[in-house]
Amino acid sequence: MIKVNDLSVTFTQYEGWWTQRRVSVLHDVSLAIHEREIVAIIGASGSGKSILAHALLGLLPENAHLSGDMRFRGEVLTDRLQRTLRGTVIHFIPQSVNFLDPLQRVGKQVQWGRSKACAIVEQRDLFHRYGLSSTVAELYPHELSGGMRRRVLFATAMHNTTQCIIADEPTPGVHPSILKAMLDDFMRLREEGVSILFITHDLMAALRVADRVYIMKDGRVVEEAQPSQFVGRGESLVHSYTKNLWRALPENEFSVEEEFHVTSE
């Protein structure tokens, strides 16, 4: 469905008045998301996961320079194609609750982008599905708890036209039961034919649903792995960073080797 080849992103910044500086944030990233597949991207903050998501959606600021090739079902992802896909075929679940407008009621924000006739009904159904009571629709984002806002953001992406979801860290801070509901939802959507790019730093959550996992570090994809490779002490994993990531989990050995201090969030 989505194929990315050698994607590099650099930002041009001004240092003082005259000197320009180019900051490279993605280096030759190649990955693929097939039809009906959940692909997870794991990486620490600053590894370029969100930049990748924004690049796919065409949301990067104007000072970003892209090179490489991005395709959607074989077609080159131009600005124009991205504009037609956004909000119809491809949906985005953002990482921060700041992505909700502070001055609009959350129910209305979920209704946006839907056809007028069924917007209210769809919103009610979605709220019901994610355990949000009907009174919540009348509230403003600041009146919701973190977990509730996550669920609202989740609900915005659920349309019956959705064929692809790019979820940028949708899960931090949610209750385990809600996390399970969200992951179940991903699997249900996959059954319905939706492809999902699941960006997260929660390796365990990713392994529960993903068909394939990409590990990102410092703007590069360092490894592509199958969830089945994450067993034991991680012997079948290739890159030492991935192995350390796996071993550092509390469920495993909780060990971090000296030269690889993974910053946990």
Binding site: L57, L59, R83, R86, G87, T88, H91, F92, P94, S96, N98, F99, L100, D101, P102, L103, Q104, W112, G113, S133, T135, V136, L139, Y140, H142, E143, L144, S145, M148, T156
Partner: protein, 327 residues
Amino acid sequence: MKEMIYTVMRGGSLLFGLSVLTFTLVYYSPVDPIQAYIGGGTYMTEDQRQQLEEKWGLNDHPVQQYVRWATALLGGDFGQSTIYQRPVSTLIQERAGATLLLMTVAWTVSGLFGFTLGVWAAVSRGRMIDRLIRWYSYIQASVPTFWLGLLLLMIFSVYLQWFPVGLSAPPGKLLANVTWGDRLYHLWLPALTLSVIGTAQVTLHTREKMINVLESDYVLFAKARGASTGQIVKRHGLKNAVLPALMLHFSYVGELFGGSVLAEQVFSYPGLGAMVTEAGLKADVPLLLGIVLCSSVFVFIGNVCADFLKQWIDPRTKKRVSYDAIE
């Protein structure tokens, strides 16, 4: 309810402080009220002068003078204007309407116009139209009211003769015969002057705020959901940018009054502004204090409106049920 009492108390203390300050300033000013009253050419014996001083109570202690005035004020008596020899309250009543009309028109027009320009500039940021709007705003912000007034007067009244040179109604016409058409015809130029003067601030602030909004995460998300620029401005921009603009514009009421003093002077528009200048120059203390208090009420009401509107528009400043009650 508690807030209302607090607001009234705030207003009361403001008026008290202001009255003391103005009284002190006038008391220590070099203008001699008796000399100002009788005018330069008239001769007065020392005896007559003392009699007048006695009559006006000018020899009493200043605190005594203030208390006498303030007590009368609480009973609704603003005192007698020394230059007009008529009650201050009547004079203010006669003039306040004209000024209020002028200020309301100027405030509304400059607000709407300024906000629209600001939004337009922000949406087309970096392009030619944005540069033009900013360029216009900077120039306009540095133009003094009286100069613009004179310029408009020259162009529209003297050369083109579209509008009258001054006053708020045709001279020689009885007050009863003055129509709203006459009033608007005379209001046009001073209102235009004040409206133009008031736009730059709103425009530039709205532009800044709107740019912030357009760079916000929620606008990025709206784009990701396929919203067009028009939808983004309508859904997110207006509501998020109108609040700072409104707050700013309400606090501008005070400045607007200052501007209307100048504009009224230039256009000989008989409002409070023209009268306050006269009262100041001729040391008419009761009239001056009366107008100062009256105008501070205008400004205070403006600020109270701003507070009220903020609560109404921005849900974050409202007290509402917390999520604990629902979840």
